[in-house]
Point group: C2
Chain length 695, copies 2
């Protein structure tokens, strides 16, 4: 790490305390650099955001998505000032510059939205300056209106405009506009008329292009990692390849699905409009202490075991389960996915069955107990004897290289997304290093963190480089908590974490989903598909599979532990398959649904009816506004009046008038005023997903 | 400024934008250094506080006052970890180290309180580590209780304790305690009994002294400027020296008070228990456009003018008004103050009357208008023609040196506090430089900012170095807003700003004070004296002077513009003089009232009865607890039940029992349970100021 060369940092604490003699700790752990003092600057710029860990780590940006830069900018006395947010490309060149707006008058909190247009390590900063033209404009307007110092103010105006003109390119139309104004002001006349020349729109437009910037002041520069759009926006479909095409023989034994049958499944995935095909682990499965059906401790003959119990004599994380096929089959799977414009996600669980080759080749990668045995996973007193966790501290370099190379193998075979199982049980410094190396060598590869854990860990995994994250969506079912969560994800943690909304997974079947019948599956699909740019569906959702294993919040007869054949044609009769298809089509057609930082909540008169909207910002392409109104109660019809926030929708001009909204779900069109009435039946159509048609 | 040597910073944006060609701006403004990347570390330490501007500026610390260090500390998986906050002296040596406590379980927010003991540029950081002993303690306790892996867990304990003993000084009693435990555990017996040896208090005490710290991880180091106690705790008394001993001749003309009469006044100031004598400006006063009585635009003959209209042919800021006396008189004033253990504060208003020597000698220090005249102060269309503001941008270096040397002159004559008038109308970079130089050369000198302005400016002035600040206290009169403000000052802005509570000043007489009669003066004095470590009283308060000039929120016949003779003996009859005296005595006797970061609000059943407490923390000297209960209504009696928070008072052990409280105002003693009843009459005694007597 860096050692600062400035004088303050040379005064590092000296290890004096006798307890510092720590025999088991490396002598020189990395210590982050102490920040160097910097003066406040002439026009202060304070509390810039987004900033992570004092600017040591990069905030998240996505190609094509606007992100907000904020800063507190102010100055002494009464004179005017302005501020701009500036976006810098990885090579340091300036990509974009926007005038910031005071969004909290009285607190001088300024905001500007910037849009990066390529992947890479970008940065941003803020500039402020004294604005002599706006100072004069204010003073002259007030004083001439009051009949005070009239000629003096005109003369001062001539001075500031002359100076501004000299600051513009010679011969430019802007310089000419100012020269003309100066000539008119010198020509004489009524003071208010002379003032009019000085504050004309031609003058103001010229100064917007070439502002007169005195006392230019800079903030520090802050890093922004820009990822490809798939890091933010994607529609995932999860399935167990062995379940595809699996069938039961007449003797009751099962024949496993394969990568070939999984390849056939891709057409169905594509037909529903998904963009990512996500495979649970495809590696060989251990036999020692293999789990049986419904998570029983003993497997029966023929039980295939959990694909998360990875590794056997057939190989480990870099191998394919022989039942599923070969690398050639995998390559064919990827090739077919590409033909269909699908990207392939692979589930990576960094743990070993007792039969994993690593156990024999690298017993030092695991924890050896005092009796010489290798420690299995535990959460005392619970034991998980089919799994050996890696001990990343025993040989950090060896383990790092093995995992990096294993992931590179899959990336080289065309995997562009890794769904990382339980990253919060591995050291964060491991992930930070790995993600940095992949960002450099495989900038197209996206990592999804499956860390259902406390908020600091969930957010830290995002902050150190995971592109997107599972989160608490599945457990947010009440209107108020959903509203809060949408806002938190869009505006509080957006620089740290990109959300993925999954109504269910192979591990998650919440009480809401267990009890709410088919309507619950419809409601939660609509909310996931519209509430987050990335959403995911676990296969079987089409069938509204909602029976839980007693005592657990996951599916009974879970395909983690057994083969599962499904008749997806039933998905038509539940209505869920057509709904998923329609939702993905709506998402594809509406850029507003592909962005995160653009949610507005609209109050309604019912605590069961949620209303929110999303709309594109400047620089994000065409204007697009979507309003979602959703009955959260899967049992009965509710109605409500909605207080639409026209200003937030960008519809200030429509106050007192009506707008045309088109329901993309029902294909109906309505004329809505600012307080529309809705009635939503969960057994009919639980929601409106409305596109606003602005004339 | 520093130019970073790391590779990221070399990619500074290149000036490409054509608008960057700014002829009026210096070519290379200072740009704060970009932070260097730092890895997350093995046991992550995130979001450390207090941190200002990414650690570029120092947080505020005071000699003898505890301050809180917080950080989010967590790790992967299930193993245990610990964290310590570490305080480092200006020379880099370690001064103090405390174990941090998780104050928001589930969010892993850790806190530790540190107490610096000398003035200077200190720093702090956080250390975290894997705690193998606590991991074993947890696992072994759970598993042995469940009858699982009993001998294995004992053997693991032997291993960790043996390792811990090796980490302790040879021959220490701590090492012996562990060696004994290991021997007992090896001797055999019932598992629970063997476990008992491993988790005995002797073992835990030894490990508290010499913890086994694996994977030691460091946060960055953050700066803390530690000031003398007077920066935090002081009792100010403000007066106009010319009013002391001023009298009217039989012809109606006035004779000015002098520094000699002001010196005589010190005995009265001291008798009331104040510790700072604060003089409004003592410099020569201009005659051009001099203001008359009650802020009229034209002075009558004999009107002395405002001491804030500084400068005449008799001199400027480095001179003394001839009516007041000489530097010898000033030195005598300071000497007498020192005899009385009073420190001297001087009011500094950095502005000039048209007659100030600077106007002739340095017209370039002011703003010249286009007509060649010097610009007077304005807030268009208002004009203040008796005042020329300095233009700090015209000759920054010349003005800086002049002001610095002027302040040094007064400091050399014994002034130890400067009350800075309207610092928010001067550039912040000027103050930051000045305060840094004074902190180095005159570390005992305290600067008080009089910036009644927006919160960002008020807080930024503190952040760049002002020791203490006037604030919004005078306008916080309702219970809820007072509660919020006390908490904000104690825990949100404490690292930025030290408050000074002034019920009135020569500029401020709020509607509450105008209407509430003598009780209002009593109530606000009690609140100011107990709510903030620094409070101040403007002379005349003793007499409950509460008549405002019509249309203004300040005194009629304000002594800013005229002589004012007072009969302070009337202060006895109002009861205010004895109250001030008693309040200062209580403050002196109770260290809890001398600290900022120690407020607890206790709910009451009345919206007019406020209850808060303060208590000393570990390292701040003797245990001291003060409870204040105050009727905020100056008109009628209110009663209430109070929900005392015994835990916050450190009285957990008293749940269900009563405590003895002594009212320092009335000298009464009460026995209080956790829900005492109070009735407070603003015309009798509006408050209890209770010392808790813990047996």
């Amino acid at each position: 790490m860096n050692t600062s060369s400035n004088s303050r940092s040379s005064r590092k604490p000296v290890a004096q305390d006798r307890r510092s003699v720590q025999k088991d700790t490396p002598a020189t752990p990395v210590r982050p650099q102490r920040a160097a003092f910097a003066p406040v600057g002439r026009i202060p710029i304070l509390n810039v955001s987004p900033v992570i860990e004092d600017g040591r780590w990069a905030a998240k940006g996505t190609v094509g998505e606007a992100f907000p830069v904020q800063a507190t900018v102010f100055r002494e006395g009464h004179d005017a000032w302005s501020a701009e947010a500036v976006l810098n490309r990885p090579d340091g060149s300036e990509a974009q510059r926007v005038r910031m707006v005071d969004i909290k008058p009285g607190l001088h909190r300024y905001e500007g939205w910037l849009v990066p247009d390529a992947v890479g390590e970008w940065s941003f900063h803020v500039e402020s300056w004294s604005d002599p033209y706006r100072t004069w404009e204010h003073d002259a307007t007030v004083k001439i209106e009051a009949g005070v110092d009239e000629q003096l103010m005109i003369d001062e105006g001539v001075r500031v405009l002359t100076r501004a003109a000299e600051n513009m390119p010679e011969g430019s139309s802007e310089a000419q506009a100012l020269t003309d104004a100066v000539a008119a002001m010198k020509a004489g006349g009524a003071p208010s008329s002379l003032l009019g020349h000085g504050i004309s729109s031609a003058v103001k437009d010229a100064l917007a292009t070439y502002p007169l910037r005195d006392m230019l002041t800079f903030s520090a520069e802050y890093p922004l990692n820009v990822d490809r759009e798939l890091a933010l926006y994607g529609s995932w479909y999860e399935f167990f390849p062995r379940s595809t095409g699996a069938y039961q023989n007449s003797d009751g034994s099962w024949v496993s699905g394969t990568l070939k049958t999984a390849t056939a499944e891709l057409d169905r995935v594509k037909a529903m409009g998904f963009t990512v095909a996500y495979l649970t682990p495809i590696h060989p499965i251990g036999t020692t202490n293999r789990k049986g059906r419904n998570n029983t401790l003993t497997a029966e003959p023929g039980d295939p075991g959990s694909p998360y119990g990875i590794g056997s004599e057939d190989g480990g994380h870099d191998a394919i389960h022989p039942d599923l096929g070969t690398f050639d089959d995998f390559d064919s799977f990827v090739a077919r996915a590409r033909e269909l414009d699908l990207e392939v996600a692979l589930d990576i669980a960094l743990q070993a069955s007792p039969d994993h080759p690593w156990v024999k080749e690298h017993p030092e990668w695991f924890t050896t107990r005092v009796d010489g045995s290798i420690a299995y996973a535990e959460n005392p007193p619970k034991k998980y004897q089919d799994i050996y966790p890696l001990n990343f501290d025993n040989d950090p370099e060896g383990i790092y290289v093995a995992i990096r190379d294993m992931l590179a193998l899959w990336a080289d075979h065309g995997v562009t997304l890794f769904r990382i199982d339980n990253p919060h049980t591995k050291p964060l410094e491991f992930w930070q290093r790995l993600l940095a190396e992949f960002r450099e060598k495989y900038p197209d590869v996206v990592f999804l963190a499956e860390a259902f854990t406390n908020p600091p860990m969930l957010q830290a995994l995002g902050a150190i480089g995971f592109h997107q994250s599972y989160n608490y969506f599945a457990w947010r079912n009440e209107k108020e908590e959903i509203e809060e969560y949408l806002l938190e994800l869009a505006y509080d943690s957006d620089h740290l974490v990109r959300p993925a909304f999954w109504p269910t997974t192979h591990d998650i079947l919440t009480p809401y989903m267990q009890r709410g019948g088919v309507p619950a599956f419809a409601i939660r699909a609509i909310l996931a598909a519209t509430g987050s740019p990335t959403w995911g569906i676990y296969s079987g959702y089409e069938l509204a599979e909602n029976i839980a294993r007693p005592g657990a919040e996951e599916q009974i007869d879970n395909e983690k532990y057994q083969y599962k054949a499904r008749d997806y044609s039933l998905g038509e009769s539940t209505g869920i398959t057509p709904l998923l298809t329609k939702l993905n089509a709506i998402r594809a057609a509406h850029p507003a649904l592909q962005k995160l930082r653009n949610v507005t909540i609209h109050p309604t008169t019912s605590d069961k009816i949620l209303c929110f909207s999303k709309r594109t910002r400047e620089g994000e392409g065409e204007q697009d506004i979507v309003i979602v109104v959703l009955n959260l109660d899967p049992f009965i019809t509710h109605d409500a009046l909605i207080d639409l926030n026209f200003a937030a929708l960008g519809l200030d001009g429509y106050a007192g008038r009506s707008i045309t909204v088109h329901d993309e779900l029902s294909d109906q069109t309505f004329e809505w005023d600012q307080r529309p009435f809705v009635r939503l039946d969960p057994h009919g159509s639980a929601a409106h997903v409305l596109s606003v048609r602005v004339s």
